[in-house]
């Protein structure tokens, strides 16, 4: 059976792995790329044009910290010239009023500001950067003053999940239109720190109730998107809405991935731009076709009523927990791999004192 491949809707451009923060849940790989490996301004501009021609509508400029790129303003101009809806995913550190006004002039559509905690004590400890919280709050004021639409991206885990009501209040106070309550997904640095970051079931139940209430009371004033901690789910997340179906990710050196963690699957080889055309990588590369559609699925997923709902879940999670990227996502209750996930949960959550963080450096 041949798989029908639609054009991608969204592209995440990891402009750099450099970042002043050292969050222990960073989604970047544990092998970080150095500055001299990064694509040039011209190469990124070319990738943006190729992406728009391919059908990408939304571009997320991410990192690392994208403001660590001195040419960020030029890159935003290039993205808008290509016709892309341009979203900046930032910690705020490295953005001054002058730079934010230049980004406004460049046509930046939207800002997504990360939040490590609602107090300086928590946020600076999680970010591993003293003074970071105060600078972020200052940047948030300038963002509001300019009038950028703002999403607060609150990354939640064992240490700060109990602060969820205050986190939602903060989104309101900062004038955000949208909050992403993003419970940590265990890839990259977060996988290294899983035992320190995994919330308890009681925390998760409380958080779900808080989110459900807030969605009702803040309807029409604040959009709330909730990414649950999936180890506590019965069915897997529809990761990337299916491998190679809607989105792609470009790393600082131009490696094109179906998702940010795909390089953890050792038998896959990923092509780079600009050596290869983005369209060629999307439609014909072996890596993008490896888990497309349903042919790759084990019988359990093939015959499942949720086959076209969650697409077998997350390939990188199957790899991380079971060592087999083609296995059903171990989150799934029907999966034989669920026992391994439950064992990890029991073992890690029962630790009364969480282990120290391994900071991303």
């Amino acid at each position: 059976m041949s798989v029908r491949v639609d054009p991608p809707m969204a592209m995440l451009a990891e402009l750099t792995h450099r970042c002043p923060l050292a969050c222990p849940y960073c989604s970047n790989p544990t092998d970080l790329l150095a500055r001299d490996a990064e694509l040039s301004t011209e190469s990124w501009a070319d990738v943006f044009r190729q992406a728009a021609d391919l059908g990408v509508l939304q571009l997320h400029l991410s990192g690392g910290e994208p403001a660590s790129r001195r040419d960020l303003e030029e890159l935003v101009i290039a993205a808008r010239d290509a016709g892309l809806y341009t979203n900046l995913i930032t910690s705020g550190i490295g953005l001054t009023e002058k730079r934010l006004r230049a980004l406004d002039d460049a046509g930046l559509d939207h800002v997504q500001l990360s939040l490590q905690g609602v107090t300086a004590e928590m946020a600076d400890r999680i970010g591993g950067y003293t003074g970071g919280f105060d600078r972020k709050m200052h940047v948030a004021e300038i963002i509001a003053d300019i009038g950028f639409p703002l999403t607060l991206n609150a990354v939640m885990h064992r240490e700060n999940l109990d602060d969820l009501p205050q986190t939602i209040d903060m989104a309101r106070r900062l004038g955000a239109r949208r909050i992403e309550v993003a419970c940590v997904q265990f890839q990259g640095w977060a996988l290294v720190n899983r035992a320190a970051l995994q919330p308890s079931r009681a925390q998760v139940d409380q958080a779900k109730a808080t989110v459900a209430r807030a969605i009702e009371t803040l309807k029409g004033r604040l959009v709330i998107d909730f990414v649950p901690p999936d180890y506590y789910s019965d069915f897997p997340k529809a990761c990337m809405n299916g491998w190679g179906s809607t989105g792609l990710n470009v790393t600082p050196d131009g490696t094109v991935l179906p998702c940010h963690a795909a390089e953890t699957i050792p038998h896959l080889q990923f092509d780079k731009v600009p050596e290869h055309a983005l369209a060629e990588i999307w439609y014909t590369s072996a890596a993008f076709n490896a888990y497309r559609g349903t042919d790759w699925m084990p019988a359990l997923c093939q015959s499942c009523t949720r086959r076209d709902v969650d697409f077998g879940g997350c390939r990188c999670q199957a790899m991380a927990v079971l060592g087999d990227a083609a296995a059903p996502d171990p989150v799934c209750r029907k999966s034989p791999g669920r026992a391994a996930l439950d064992a990890l949960l029991t073992q890690e959550v029962q630790q009364v004192t969480a282990p120290d963080f391994v900071y991303r450096r």
Partner: protein
């Protein structure tokens, strides 16, 4: 939201023609919607002046359809977009 409220596209939400999919789309923070004929007609009337009720009356006339059929659909469409943060409303 009431029928007198005036809906508008806030900063950060815009429409454009998608040449690859040959369709009009509306783009916002983490949201993309491909617009059908009706969606396009409603969105095209969000000028920050017309109320929800006035937009429904206009569409009923243009498409020669009964207002009591059109109005609930228009209201539901705008309210759905408002809940997704794609449309804002202000009282008249």
């Amino acid at each position: 939201m009431t029928s007198d409220d005036v809906p508008f596209l806030p900063r950060g939400v815009r429409t454009q023609f998608d040449a690859v999919r040959k369709a009009d789309v509306i783009l916002g923070p983490e949201r993309v919607l491909v617009l059908d004929q009706v969606g396009k007609a409603v969105i095209g009337r969000l000028d920050g002046v017309a109320s929800v009720a006035e937009i429904a009356v206009d569409l009923a006339q243009v498409y020669d359809a009964p207002l009591d059929v059109i109005a609930p659909d228009v209201t539901a469409f705008i309210e759905d977009l408002r809940d997704r943060g794609m449309v804002h409303v202000r009282p008249r």
